[in-house]
Symmetry: C2
Subunit: 159 residues, 2 copies
């Protein structure tokens, strides 16, 4: 493999990172408290209308999004790892502990690291197949997650 | 759905259960100590020639089996949940925390419950697709895991 050839991880992964001028504890709250999740989690014109989350390894989450035509889309998943204020890992491969979902699509690791008095916020989506990663990118991962990161930062700054 | 129609769980699941006359702590040791794992984990003529296990939620396992022709087959997985002497959950959907594997095939829950002075041992394999469940059954799940359960019980009784 050449020096610059993408490795398997790169081919399966999408990453978004931002340096946000808010303490990481506030960003973590926005990711884990239902009343906050609903305020930033989807790019308009979609809305997040409900969030039920059991934030612990093995706990379930159900986040319901609503499209501009009123269509409601529940997203079921499970937390694999939770380190308060530092790290969240979740996946849609299970709907509860440990029921396989219809389609294992991705595993997301979100990290909150202190950096120069700010917070390095990184969301890393790993997919089981390159095709799924490509589909996710074409669905607008970078723009969509970027808009959400802005909404997250703005909301966290008000806390 | 009729009263006796299989539900989604049944269609995705294979289960083996035994009442074993050994305390559950000894069975748990056989499942989690490399020097014991290699003694019971495969039905002959296959052998388990190596076991590296990091028995904690998020820990990796690599169990290497060897066929009668000498072929070595490493099996990579990860523990999702570990409750000492009671419960183990692991899957081949990840090769380490949290790298997706090439093929998420199954998630196994093993439970050890006290029952009438003995141990109710149950291994439950859940698959992401009905096709994978069927393939696993045709590979000889019931016979294979049954032989291994006998080997497990015999080994645990010597501890």
């Amino acid at each position: 493999m050449g020096l610059f050839a993408p490795d398997a991880t790169t081919l399966h992964e999408l990453v978004l990172t931002r340096l946000i001028n808010v303490p990481r504890a506030k960003l973590f709250r926005c990711w884990t408290e239902p009343a906050l999740i609903t305020q930033w989690f989807t790019p308009p014109p979609w809305k997040t209308i409900a969030a039920e989350v059991d934030v612990r390894a093995g706990g379930s989450s159900c986040i319901t999004m609503q499209g501009p035509d009123g269509t409601k889309v529940p997203n079921l998943g499970i937390y694999l790892e939770v380190v308060k204020n530092e790290r969240l890992v979740f996946t849609d491969a299970y709907t509860s502990a440990w029921e396989p979902s219809d389609k294992p699509f991705m595993t997301v690791t979100v990290t909150f690291e202190e950096e120069a008095g700010k917070t390095r916020y990184t969301a890393r989506a790993r997919h089981w197949t390159v095709a799924d990663r490509e589909q996710h990118e074409q669905m607008g991962f970078h723009v969509g997650w970027g808009i959400c990161a802005d909404q997250l930062a703005a909301l966290a700054a008000t806390l």
